[in-house]
Symmetry: C7
Subunit: 97 residues, 7 copies
């Protein structure tokens, strides 16, 4: 089974627990090397955040479960990198066309 | 026969199997070093993803077959890099003109 | 508990104490390696600044308390990086779409 | 005679042979180090691709002949780099003006 | 007291002393490693310049005093970097949103 | 006499000799290290190209003469770099303003 | 007296002497390491060029005098870098705002 190197998630979450607590909890997951939590929309009860998780072999289900345990809902899985090395998505001529 | 170093595919797929499963399956193919699966459109039954596969000698047919076995349809092959080294496509003066 | 590597804050503050004083005070916090304070709006009594704090293990509560002690109000926590390494947020195909 | 280091071609081709076959064939040419084939328009019978060929001394005529043998037509030669080192085209103040 | 590594100032100044003289005078201040003076608006009597000062421990008051002694008025302090290392301000998802 | 390191020319030329021949001829000039020929407009009889020539000490007159011998007309000399090191033109605050 | 590392000038000049001659003359000035002369507007009798001069300690008056001796008029001094190291002007949050 090939290793997951990066996951980018679009997540809706309540204001509590705070984003610092959510980021810390994901950073504590085994085989996660680092996590970036970026806010992009704030509503009265909820906020939308983009969560980028990197590691040598990220356990997708554990990340999902951690987010859900803290009240978050994953709207979409925007990017996944799998395999032995990191492959970045880059704009092709077709994308620009 | 010259080696394939990178393939970029525009793929339509059902929601199941998940993008994590598809990326993992492609990452498991022999001679694939890494794969990036990026979502760009979600519909009720299907989603459109851009898949970038890199390796020292990627077997195009195996990649195609893996995607089709998981229910995906390749809409277009947007970029191919072949040979001994990676040559990037760059904007020319003509493209900008 | 995973380490906080970077915090980006949107802050409303009075003109006094000055931005140099606020930046210096945050830079003095234990385990803070550096701070960037960037102005983006000036009003008669107040100004809006974006504060980026980096360190090996930034104490979020101490940063918050320092800002509040100097009369600032944190409007939003725009980015948090936690874990063993720095993970940057990058534009995905979905963001550009 | 100075060496050709890079050629960028705008090519119209039929759907068959496939882009993977065309890229492979160009990658097989003597003194070609790598080739990038990027799609930018698809029609019913034909497609437009941008082909970037790099090598220590690319044989322009062999590249042309290979493309024509596979049914392609070169619409324009958008960039040529010749000499002992690679010189990139960069936007001048005049271009931006 | 944490060290000031960079200050960016928006300054209104008379045409005389010249920008070369002002830049030289700031470059002469103790612990200043370098200064960039960039013009962005010219009026009949005055001009607006953006002054970036870097050093291992820039004395903000000395910089201010030097500018005022030469007839300049600091309109705003647009950026301050303090601490042991340089932290750049970067666009967050929230800024782009 | 200071050395010329780079020349950027806007050139109008007939379709024949081809751009590959023109680039090769310039690449053959003594002290030229490399040349980039980029197409930006094609008309019935003529085409407009941007030619970038780099070397340790480029002989401007020889480059000009070579282009004219091949039927080209230099419309403008868009950039010249002279001296012991390459100095790039960069956008200033005034340019952006 | 702090050293001048870079000067960027907006200059109006007659077509003769040519830009190659002007760039060469500036490149010949003592302590100038390199010069970039970029054209941005051409009129019947005159042209506007942006001249970037770099060195370990550029003599501003000599550069000015050289340009004036060749018939040029300096419209504005768009950027000056002084001190022991090169400090680049960078877009702040305030500039983007």
């Amino acid at each position: 089974m090939s290793q997951i190197k990066r996951i980018v998630l679009d997540v809706l979450k309540p204001h509590e627990p705070t984003n610092v607590e959510v980021a810390s909890a994901i950073g504590d997951i085994r085989d996660v090397d680092g996590v970036n939590l970026s806010l992009y929309e704030v509503d009265q009860q909820t906020e939308n955040v983009k969560i980028t998780v990197e590691g040598t072999d990220v356990n997708f289900d554990l990340v999902l479960q951690t987010i859900e345990n803290l009240g978050g809902v994953v709207h979409s899985v925007d990017e996944i990198i799998a395999g032995k090395k990191i492959v970045e998505e880059e704009e092709t001529l077709h994308d620009r066309g």
